[in-house]
Amino acid sequence: MPKETSAPRKKYPPEVSKTTVIKGMLRTSLLDSAFHLLMAILLITGLIMDILGPWLGGWLHWMRQIAHGYLGAFFVLIFIVYLAKILYSKKMRTVLTATNYVDFLFYIAFVITGITIASVNSPWITYIPELAEVLAPIASYAPTIHITGTYVWILFSTVFPGGFLHGLASAYLIRHLKKRSKRGIQ
C-alpha cells in the first residue's frame, strides 16, 4: 500500500510581513526594487534638506552630494531603463503598472528639473554639453518646480491614495480595454 502523503495546507490569507514583501519584491524584479528604493532615498533626503536645511546647513552637504546627487544621477539611469521596460513590454501586469502609476508624470518632472538644476555643472554638462542649451528655458524655474512638485505629489498621494491618481488611471485603462474588446468583436 502506497503511503498517503498530504500536501502542506496553505494558509489563507497568507501571512505577510515586511521581510516577505521585500524578499518578494527582490525575487520578482531587481529593477523594480532598485527603482523604488532609490525613489524613497531621494524623497527622504530631499525632504530632510528642505525642512531641516535652515537649521542643519552645511551638515547636509554630504547628503546633497552623495545621497541626493550621485544616487539621483543613478536613479535617472534606472528610471530610463524602467520606463523603457514598461513601454516596450506587452505584459498586462506592466501595462497595469504604467497606467496605474500616473505618478510617473511627477517622476518625469522631477527627473527633468533635477537634471536641469544639476546641469549647471558636472556630471551632465561635462558629458552632454548640448544639455545646457536645451534646458536653459526652464533653468530659472527648475528649483521651484522640483520642490513644489514634490509637495504637491505628497499631498495627492496621502490625501487621495489610490483615489485621485489611480482613479484617473483606472478610468483610462477601462476605456482603453473597452475599445480593444469592441475592435475584437467587430
Partner: protein
Amino acid sequence: MEYAVLVDPDKCVGCRACQVSCKRWNNRPGEETSFSNEWTNPLELSFNTYTHIQFKLEHNEATDEIKWRFFNWRCMHCHEPACAEACPVNAITKFEEGPVVVDESRCIGCKFCISACPFDIPKFDTVTGKVSKCHMCYDRVPSREPSCVQACPTDALVFGPKEKILQMAKDRKVELDGHIYGDVDNKPLGGTSFIYVLDTEASVFGLPEVGERAPVTLPLIRNSKWLLIPAAAGGLLYLAAWRNSRMKEKEK
C-alpha cells in the same frame, strides 16, 4: 548705512588690477585660462575668480574708427537677492551695508542660487561641491574699500555711501549723456550695490534686462512645504479610518 560701488567703464583702461587684487585679498588660486578673440582673460567667472574685466572691441563703420570697451564684471549685490531667496539652507545673507555673502560652510551645493540669479554669477566647484561669488569684501567694508576698488588706478571703481554714489552716478550720467544701470533708471531686483554709469545702451555690455522683483515663483521654494500640513492631516485621517475598520474586523 548702505554702501555702493560706482562702476564707470568709460574710465576703465583694462589693466586687470582689480582681478589680481581680488585674487590676492581672497587668497584664491590661479587657474589655467585663455584669451577670447577680444582678449578677455579669464573668459568667465569661476569658483576661484570673483571678478574679471570683459574686453569689447567696437568698430564704427561710418567713421571706420575702433573703440575698446573695458568692463568690470562680478556680483551685483542686489537689494533683494534672488539667490538668497532660493537658498534652502540660509547660506546667503544680504548685509545692511550692501554685500551679499555666501557662507561656504553652510552651503550644500544644491545650485538653486545659480538657477535663480539672473546675472549668472554664483559658480559651483566640483571639487568642494560648494558655491562661491564676490562678497564685496564684507570683511573690509565699510572701514576700508573693497580690494578691487582700492587697486583701480583710474577711479573706474569708486566706493562710498550709497547716497553719495548715486549722486556721483547722476552727475556722471549728465556728463556722458548716458544711462545708469542698477539704480535710478532701472532697479534690478530692488536696486544693486554695484551701479554702472554707461555711455551707451546696457545691452552693448551684455547686461540683462532684469525686473525690479524676483520671479513670483521663487517664494514657492520656501513656502510650498506648508502643503505638508494638509498632507499630514489626510494621512492621519486615513490612519484613523484604517484603525477603525480593523477594530470592527476584530470585533466580528
